[in-house]
Assembly symmetry: C2
Homo-oligomer: 143 residues x 2
DNA sequence: GATAGGGCTTCCCATCGTTGGAAGGTCAAG
DNA sequence: CTTGACCTTCCAACGATGGGAAGCCCTATC
């Protein structure tokens, strides 16, 4: 299938597909005799994976690393496992933070459920979590 | 406390604090007689909240909205609740996606735990989730 | 065969969040 | 007094993405 269809079914814009190819995130697409990029369903899977990972805040570099786990047949399995586990750790941490945030907002929603909202505790609730002093800062992954 | 200390304890760089102030995300800081910005612990809470929200992928605009819930005393409680619930929905959705991704990576990690890694199913596992065909696309957008 | 709508390429520009630096000045603590 | 932290304003860059223009080629349809 050509780039337009691949974009449609993967949810990644044609522009970004070309961009990813240019930056080595995906291998250069096959070309038809007339020079059109030609995508397999496998390529589409890769694109979907990329999109999902981007949606979750993974940087392109990180996605590249993840795709490498699958791509590089030559890679040490221990390496693969290590990287995967590290990413899982990141995810779990972020999930926890998100749950905290959701809880805070839920508290806000219920505490304000009447018509007379009291002093809303968005901030008060959020000061306890670990961070702030330590600059662990993995920062949105991006970068 | 001055901006440096506020940055230190909030985990938001001094530069970003000024940037947030400039963009109305936080109200202009008090100033000492000599013109230094002067931050209260409340301000620090706000900064921490901002940082946490940014880490979770909220855009500055969204954070502004959230801070507004707490800031604007004049706001309709129903409004506050609506927005909070919407954000909670976003979070829950993202948490689910992250859990899927973590599961996939876990599968990868265990399937590759031996020394002979098989065809890794990163992509195969990821094609089933809803998206891709339907263009719900809050994100990248197709073009 | 002509036309329209993709695709191809290479540009350049804009956005957002963030960081970095320079320059030139003021302040506070040693 | 010196040093470091702050003040200001600027300007640039990054990564990821979107938008567009220009010019040319391909494909499908009438």
């Amino acid at each position: 299938m050509n780039i337009g269809e691949a974009a449609r079914v993967s949810g990644v814009s044609a522009k970004m597909i070309r961009y990813y190819e240019q930056n080595g995130l995906i291998p250069p697409a096959e070309r038809t005799a007339s020079g059109y990029r030609d995508y397999s369903t496998n390529d589409v899977h890769m694109l979907r994976f990329i999109r999902r990972a981007r949606d979750l805040g993974f940087s392109v570099a990180e996605i590249n690393e993840l795709l490498g786990l699958w791509r590089d047949r030559s890679r040490q399995s221990a390496d693969v496992k290590r990287i995967a586990l590290a990413r899982i750790g990141d995810l779990r941490r972020k999930i926890e933070e998100m749950e905290q945030m959701a809880a805070t907002l839920e508290h806000l929603a219920t505490c304000c459920s009447g018509d007379n909202r009291p002093d809303c505790p968005i901030l008060a609730d959020l000061e306890n979590p670990d961070d702030g002093d330590e600059p662990k800062r993995p920062r949105g992954a991006i970068n």
